[in-house]
Amino acid sequence: MSKLKLVGWASAHAVFFVQQSWLLLASSFCFGLLIAMTNTALSGRIEQNKAARLNDLTKALLPGAEVFQPVAADIQVSLPDGSKEKARVFEVLSRDQQRIGWSFNAHGVGFAGPIELVLAVDKDFQKIMGFDVLASSETPGFGDQIRSGFYRKQYADAPAEPLSLVKMGDPALADAQIVAITGATVSSQAVVNIVNTFLTQIKSQMQEKGLIGNVRQ
């Protein structure tokens, strides 16, 4: 008897639930389907856009770059916050399959949010070819000058060694000293830190794994 009562109680509530919420359930299903269809149709193009943007930036840093081959070796970078992640390193080849350099993604914390960079180095990992900004939210007119002008130019031809930030100096010299942007010391330092973190660790691990020579110039 009590079992019957329970069943009656449960079914009455189930009916009430469906009566109240059938529209929400049905429309959620339809909307979910709609989003899934759109995503299926567009995800290929979205991935292409992302890859194309990375390639375009790298091509500007390494003239003659045609092919980007992901490096299969497991290269781990430990970040300042203590976590570890697998570095995304690419071997950059020219049209005739000659290696002209390496490129990798790097990221860290800037003044107003995360900064994501792409860095290119020459084929022996001796010299930085330059960097470009994939994403940043630095202050317009100040910190966002890391994207352009004299600050970015300093990285081209700088040695692939730990860099340091200075307030005064000659930005035209291709050395390990990076002159800060006036009024944006934090952003300038952030880029130097990101480059140092990723560059030194990736370089030493690639040397260990024999991907690049151990020679010093």
Partner: protein, 207 residues
């Protein structure tokens, strides 16, 4: 919308025109103020944002209007939100696929259209009470009013902060850019001055 509004065509034109000036969401009602402050550093992103909002407004108004007789009063807000979120997600995917640059500049502000007050306000105030045609016209009117407001703000800020309009140089070379207008403070100052101007104009008209 009551029957006292007159003929059907009068009803349609009223639905279309209201959002442009008399109930302009940005300049008169001051609702949905996040995009006008956040994405008006240049005209192109502002226009992209405006068009996205028009798309979402029209679609969500239409869907809400079609299901208006099935809505349970205590479940209506969640139905509005689910509908709006769907179209915003679709819009976001389209921007990522066909306008990757704009999508990157607008960043989180496209997904944030979901919680934009204008769209849920129109679903509640218009679409859940009127037929599909009126709802679509209302969506167009409100959306265009919002877009024009965004573009006015963005135009002023882009010209004074960079000397460019729509990425084309318009100011003489001697012009020194007002960088402050590109920062959040510039959005507040510009919006405040435009609102003051509108108040002066409307008060003069009334008196």
């Amino acid at each position: 919308m009551s029957a006292s509004n007159g003929s059907t065509s009068g009803l349609y034109s009223k639905a279309l025109v209201t959002g442009l000036w008399r109930e302009n969401p940005t300049f008169r009602l001051m609702i949905g103020m996040c995009p006008p402050l956040a994405v008006t550093t240049a005209v192109k992103p502002a226009l992209t944002m405006g068009l996205s909002v028009i798309f979402v407004l029209i679609c969500s108004n239409l869907v809400v209007s079609l299901m208006r007789n099935l809505l349970k009063p205590h479940l209506r807000i969640i139905m509005f939100t689910v509908t709006i979120a769907t179209f915003v997600t679709i819009c976001d995917l389209f921007l990522k696929a066909y306008q990757p640059k704009m999508s990157e500049i607008l960043g989180a502000y496209v997904p944030l259209i979901i919680v934009n007050c204008i769209i849920i306000f129109r679903a509640e105030a218009c679409a859940s009470k009127s037929g599909p045609v009126v709802s679509i016209l209302d969506g167009i009117g409100m959306g265009v009013g919002f877009t024009v407001a965004l573009c006015i703000l963005a135009g002023v800020r882009e010209i004074l902060a960079t000397g460019h309009f729509f990425d084309v140089r318009v100011m003489p070379n001697a012009f020194v850019p007002w960088l402050a207008l590109q920062m959040p403070v510039g959005a507040f100052v510009t919006l405040g001055l435009i609102l003051a101007l509108i108040n002066v104009l409307t008060r003069r008209k009334e008196s």
